[in-house]
């Protein structure tokens, strides 16, 4: 299996917290500081509360796959033929059901990807940045 290598492009500085978490080996999601509730993905405007600034919170690395797909032909801009196939999962931390983090299935030899499979977060270094990886438990 391959691994995607595509540059991280962040327009909104508020979104940087996700990658700061990955570099620290943590999976972080955004919460509304007033309610403590997860708001994910972090929207440009929190619904009904345009002045709210979300905060990043570390979540449990254990969780499960909502769904997955194995990318055989990468549709990313540029030439990525050497990076396929890879399997992308939409991961839900046990701390934040329903908040899905896309990431790459890693260390999964012998495992068939499946919805509901138990996974554990693992930051994966790709070139000059980290991406979210998830390995079967």
């Amino acid at each position: 299996m391959g691994i995607p290598n595509y540059p991280v492009h962040i327009e909104d500085p508020q979104l940087q917290g996700f990658y700061e978490g990955l570099a620290a080996g943590e999976l972080r999601l955004t919460v509304d500081p007033e309610t403590g509730q997860f708001v994910w993905y972090p929207p440009e405007v929190v619904p009904g509360k345009p002045d709210t600034v979300l905060e990043w919170r570390k979540v449990a690395p254990e969780g499960s796959a909502y769904t997955f797909t194995t990318v055989v032909r990468s549709l990313l801009p540029g030439d990525h033929k050497d990076e396929v196939p890879f399997t992308v999962v939409l991961f839900e931390s046990d701390d934040a059901p329903g908040c899905r983090v896309p990431g790459v299935l890693v260390s999964a030899e012998g495992f068939e990807p499946a919805c509901g499979m138990r996974l554990r977060f693992k930051a994966v270094e790709v070139g000059d940045h980290f991406i979210a990886g998830f390995e079967p438990v």
């Binding site: 962040i10 909104d12 997955f68 549709l75 990313l76 801009p77 992308v88 896309p102 940045h129 991406i131």
Partner: protein, 381 residues
């Protein structure tokens, strides 16, 4: 809004091409003039224009086709098939009933081969660029493939059942001389189609098309004196959800739960008909998986039974509920939503030869676009 007040009185299309030589404006002008001529009208008689946020507006196209008084113009706010096969019909009826326009032109076109391609729209979304592109979760086939795997987990779906959607639409395309892909396709040929993102192959994805389409909406009372049998808009409904584009494919609690049941409920109520009354349907098939789910949402089979419905042959030529009789977007051509609506009009007018659905009187048309969905019920009076 009441049904059976307006009719689709003219239709026009350019050829569905893998790669066309003409710019978008040219194709849209060609399709518009064809629709106007089909309605027995002259360009100067068109006084309403419903545009689309993705294509040239009446400022430019109106001049190109010879419109005189652009008394009413508006732009659809929703995406894809919801715009061209749903919202445009609502806006046209409103304009006509308010006395603001007499004959409303709805043009739409696509140049899939333009630089940036069909995925450029997604690459410009900041949340996708931040969270999804670096892990390769990118492009419509990948999004919909992830939905297909979840659907299979929730309801069960074999490879053969999924394949039957594309095979069904190809069977219709074989009967349509204007379809973009006409070579017969069975399970063996389907399996030779390259995999993009599991389980979706190229054959599960809409075609890449350069083409334009247009139609004319007029009051039913006027349509009776126009060249073709009257095809009325009996019902139309829009459904929406509150998952914006940036989160739609990941954070919707059920990612394949398009707002199709809501749109269908409104359209059926307005038309005073039920799913069992339809003689055929055109269902927005950006992907095989999304088409089979919408087939369920229109009430043409039970929820969770869409894949088996297709596998049992109900939507094929000769089946009890013909679907996507031009070949759909998978095999006929992809001008989001509008060429499906036009096929519905053609079927209700009659005379389509081998692909004509016998005694077709009522056609449902489903359009999907991002977080919105439309259902329209067309009836031959």
């Amino acid at each position: 809004m009441q049904g059976n007040k307006v009719a689709i009185t003219g239709i026009g299309e350019t050829p569905m091409l893998r790669k066309g030589a003409k710019p978008l404006m040219h194709m849209m002008a060609q399709a518009s003039l064809a629709a106007i001529a089909d309605a027995g009208l002259k360009p100067a008689e068109i006084d309403g224009y419903i545009g689309n946020r993705m294509t040239p507006g009446s400022d430019d196209l109106g001049n190109a086709i010879g419109m005189k008084d652009r008394a009413f113009s508006a732009v659809c706010d929703v995406a894809g098939g919801t715009a061209s096969a749903g919202q445009a019909l609502i806006l046209a009826q409103l304009a006509i009933e308010a006395g603001l326009a007499t004959h409303v032109l709805v043009p739409y076109g696509i140049q899939s081969t333009k630089p940036g391609g069909v995925y450029g729209f997604h690459a410009r979304e900041p949340l996708k660029a931040t969270f999804e592109m670096p892990v390769g979760f990118f492009g419509q086939p990948t999004y919909f493939a992830s939905m297909a795997n979840r659907y299979a987990h929730d309801h069960g779906m074999t490879e053969e059942e999924l394949a039957s959607v594309a095979i069904t639409y190809r069977a219709w395309a074989v009967l349509n001389p204007e379809a973009q892909r006409r070579e017969p396709m069975g399970l063996e040929e389907y399996r030779q189609s390259p995999m993009i993102s599991t389980p979706l192959r190229v054959a599960d994805c809409c075609l890449t098309t350069d083409a334009a389409c247009a139609y004319i909406v007029s009051a039913v009372d006027r349509a009776k004196d126009m060249p073709h049998p009257v095809v009325q808009l009996s019902g139309v409904g829009i459904g929406t959800n509150n998952f914006p584009h940036g989160v739609l494919f990941t954070q919707n609690p059920c990612t394949y739960n398009y707002p199709g049941e809501a749109s269908a409920k409104k359209a059926y109520a307005m038309a005073g008909v039920a799913p069992k009354d339809l003689d055929l349907a055109q269902v927005y098939d950006g992907f095989s998986i999304s088409a089979l789910v919408q087939t369920e949402m229109l009430g043409l089979c039970e929820r969770g039974e869409g894949a088996r419905f297709y596998h049992q042959g109900h939507a094929k030529p000769g089946g009890r509920m013909p679907i996507n009789t031009s070949g759909g977007h998978l095999s006929g051509g992809y001008v989001p939503g509008i060429n499906l609506l036009i096929e519905g009009v053609r079927q209700l007018r009659g005379g389509l030869g081998a692909r004509q659905v016998p005694d077709a009187r009522i056609c449902g048309v489903a359009g999907l676009g991002g977080n919105s969905h439309s259902t329209a019920i067309l009836t031959r009076s």
